[in-house]
């Protein structure tokens, strides 16, 4: 690529771009980053015009989509159970924050929630990957794990299912989760129900939702961080495993360990998403473990393009927006049709397809060879 001149004269921005760009992500051009900046700016001013409180939910769920894109799209492990770690994170956050409802306690609960998601994924991942469970059986074990959690949480209505102050509540769920407050005693900030008032010329006083900005910041940081990860050497090994596991193993890579680490990292991200979900709704119930909810991340990631982090984000926001705004009877029918048609006609997903179209139209000569190689054109030995 023309920007990566070697030598000490490379500017900080060029070096940063080098880390962020590579064959495993779409969008390695100045045009893309310009578009990225415009989109980010639009999201920053969105609360002035739109319903930020509703939109923050989509940003939180996009994190869950990203976690599945990492695990499935990049490491080739189809986890039908990302919502298990999402739910574990959310429930853990609820239990800890109800018991320690101080700013330190709630901040700690966020960390413990993320850790719980990661530990849940690590335990299940260790059990599966080091036990030699492969392919579709991983998918089925993760799906069944979600079912176990759903059946278990649904029967926790009794008073014996109370941890400290927090009652798990069975089907009725766990209410009265404290408002999200980060920091420590004396220096803390409450992100929920705490409008920032801003005077905009021509519009008067505008109320901004700090939780929206928190979710947006976490999403953008996670996206950029994952871009760095998947374009690093480690990311290349992950992609190699996705494309041909046996061959990667024969090259001497520890395939099992890489899958285990990616799965655990995905669990931590899903846990973070679950924490923010429970904090935003100040409530969590076993619907997070239902089959429909377990399938949503798979839908987002397949429709958006599973080999693309950006696809996961765009599709999550778009599909959830459609789902919420189409409260009619036909919403699920359309969602199902969208899903089936996408898998049949565009198995690679929407976002990579749109990106290819745009690239072809604007600059047909500038296919710079850093895009993802198409797996089906590779020589395979099967």
């Amino acid at each position: 690529m023309s920007v990566s001149e070697s030598g000490p004269n490379r500017s900080v921005i060029t070096r940063l771009r080098d880390r962020l760009e590579g064959p495993n992500t779409i969008g390695n051009s100045k045009m893309f980053w310009a578009g990225f900046g415009v989109a980010l700016l639009a999201l920053l001013v969105f609360p002035v015009f739109g319903n930020a409180q509703q939109f923050s939910l989509f940003l939180v769920l996009a994190l869950l989509g990203l976690s599945l894109s990492l695990v499935w799209g990049y490491s080739g492990v189809l986890s039908f159970g990302q919502v298990a770690f999402f739910g574990i994170g959310g429930y853990t956050f609820g239990v800890v924050s109800i018991n320690f409802a101080t700013p330190q306690g709630i901040t700690g609960a966020v960390i413990v929630g993320i850790l719980a998601g990661a530990i849940g994924a690590a335990l299940l991942g260790y059990f599966m990957f080091y036990g030699g469970v492969r392919d579709v059986y991983v998918t089925i074990i993760t799906l069944v794990t979600v079912m176990v959690l759903h059946t278990f949480m649904a029967q926790t209505a009794g008073s014996e299912w109370t941890i400290g102050e927090a009652a798990l509540g069975g089907f009725n769920g766990m209410p009265r989760i404290p408002l999200l407050t980060l920091g420590f005693e004396g220096l803390s900030f409450q992100f929920l129900y705490n409008d920032i008032l801003l005077t905009v010329p021509g519009m008067g006083i505008v109320e901004l939702d700090p939780f929206y900005y928190l979710a947006l910041a976490i999403l953008v940081i996670t996206y950029l961080g994952l871009r760095v990860l998947v374009n690093s050497d480690y990311g290349r090994v992950m992609v190699a495993i996705r494309e041909d596991e046996t061959r990667t193993q024969l090259f001497g890579y520890n395939v099992i360990q890489v899958k285990f680490v990616a799965f655990t990292l995905g669990g931590a991200l899903a846990g973070l998403s679950g924490v923010l979900y429970a904090a935003r709704n100040v409530f969590i119930d076993p619907t997070v473990f239902t089959l429909l909810f377990a399938t949503l991340p798979v839908i987002w990631v397949s429709v958006g393009g599973r080999k693309s982090l950006l696809g996961a984000i765009v599709a999550t926001i778009a599909i959830e927006y459609i789902r919420v705004s189409m409260e009619g009877e036909l919403a699920l029918v359309l969602l199902g049709a969208l899903l089936t048609v996408t898998i049949l006609v565009l198995p690679g997903g929407f976002v990579p397809w749109v990106y290819r179209m745009v690239q072809k139209r604007t600059n047909p000569a500038d296919i710079d060879g850093r895009e993802t190689p198409d797996a089906s054109t590779e020589v395979t030995d099967s």
């Binding site: 059986y137 069944v144 176990v148 278990f152 798979v298 029918v333």
Partner: protein
């Protein structure tokens, strides 16, 4: 004594439920490499069409059940042509843009799961739009048997017998008929089978229709005892799914063995700790079984048999 009898009835009930729910799914998974997440909704098609045949057309129950099974088989055939093989969209595309647009979903496990899940969403919501949130149920035939302080629906005991009958029929179909031979040849090695003159596409079509018909028959048999709701399919999917993977790739033997194992475990835990824990025990058994027998029970049997033959 009475408690022991109760245990047996609980086991027969679980066994019949698991076998009937799983068999159609097992046929389609074992032969075509398709995981049909709309399987529960195929059962729903069978149950709904049986109920409608009784309440709207006034057919006798047994005839209505056959109608239910056939309706689901035809529906399955349509699904195979449109979604699984993509033959119909490709036919259209050939005539409009001159090239295929869909690649068949055979042996693409993840994609087949996602595509059929989309289908199941459409079917659940479609059933809700057309038939509403519940439907009149047909009466359970045969009355009850009672023993001690317990009483039990005779129909459920009959179901256990019927499920064994269906297992035997499917076993006969796949091992003793020409179609069965072609179907097994197609699983073993599709390319060679095609080279030897087997029309694999037709075999896939027939297999999907048969698997759907068996699912529809299960729905027809459950129509008198299960609540008729648009979401009823999801009650069957998980158990079916688990039974198929625990059983392994051999459709009939695997389903029978895993139905026996999982049914026994569910009955034992349900009677001691309640239905919730019965279900949890079943699911945990499935997770452990997959971890220690990744090819299922029949895969394990196969391995032991091969090892014995080598030792000789």
């Amino acid at each position: 004594m009475v408690n022991w009898l109760n245990q047996v009835f609980l086991f027969l009930d679980s066994f019949a439920f698991i076998v009937l729910a799983a068999l159609g799914l097992a046929i389609i998974f074992g032969i075509m490499g398709i995981i049909n997440l709309a399987h529960g909704e195929f059962i729903l098609v069978g149950a709904y069409s049986t109920t409608l045949a009784v309440t709207k057309l006034g057919l006798p129950l047994v005839v209505a059940m056959v109608v239910g099974a056939f309706a689901t088989a035809i529906f399955g055939l349509l699904v195979e042509r449109v979604i699984i093989s993509g033959a119909f969209p490709n036919w259209l595309a050939q005539r409009t843009i001159g090239r295929d647009i869909v690649e068949p979903l055979y042996d693409r496990l993840a994609d087949s799961m996602v595509a059929t899940f989309g289908l199941s969403l459409i079917m659940i919501q479609g059933a809700r739009i057309i038939f509403g949130n519940s439907m009149d149920q047909i009466a359970t035939p045969f009355g009850n048997v009672s023993y001690g302080s317990f009483s039990y629906s005779t129909y459920r005991i009959v179901l256990a017998g019927v499920s064994i009958g269906i297992l035997a029929a499917v076993y006969y179909l796949f091992t003793r008929t020409d179609y069965g031979m072609r179907a097994r040849a197609t699983i073993q090695d599709e390319t060679t089978a095609r080279a030897l003159g087997v029309d694999t596409e037709r075999t896939y079509m027939a297999t999907f229709a048969i698997g759907s018909g068996v699912a529809g028959l299960a729905g027809a048999l459950f129509a008198p005892i299960a609540p008729m709701q648009p979401t009823m399919g999801s009650d069957y999917l998980v158990e079916a799914f688990v039974a198929v993977v625990v059983g392994g790739s051999s459709a009939v033997l695997g389903t029978a063995l895993s139905g026996g194992l999982l049914g026994a475990i569910q009955a034992m835990f349900s009677s001691t700790y309640g239905t919730f824990f019965g279900r949890i025990a079943l699911l945990v058994t499935a997770i452990l079984a997959l971890r220690f027998l990744p090819d299922g029970i029949t895969g394990f049997i196969e391995r032991v048999r091969t090892r014995r033959q080598e030792a000789k």
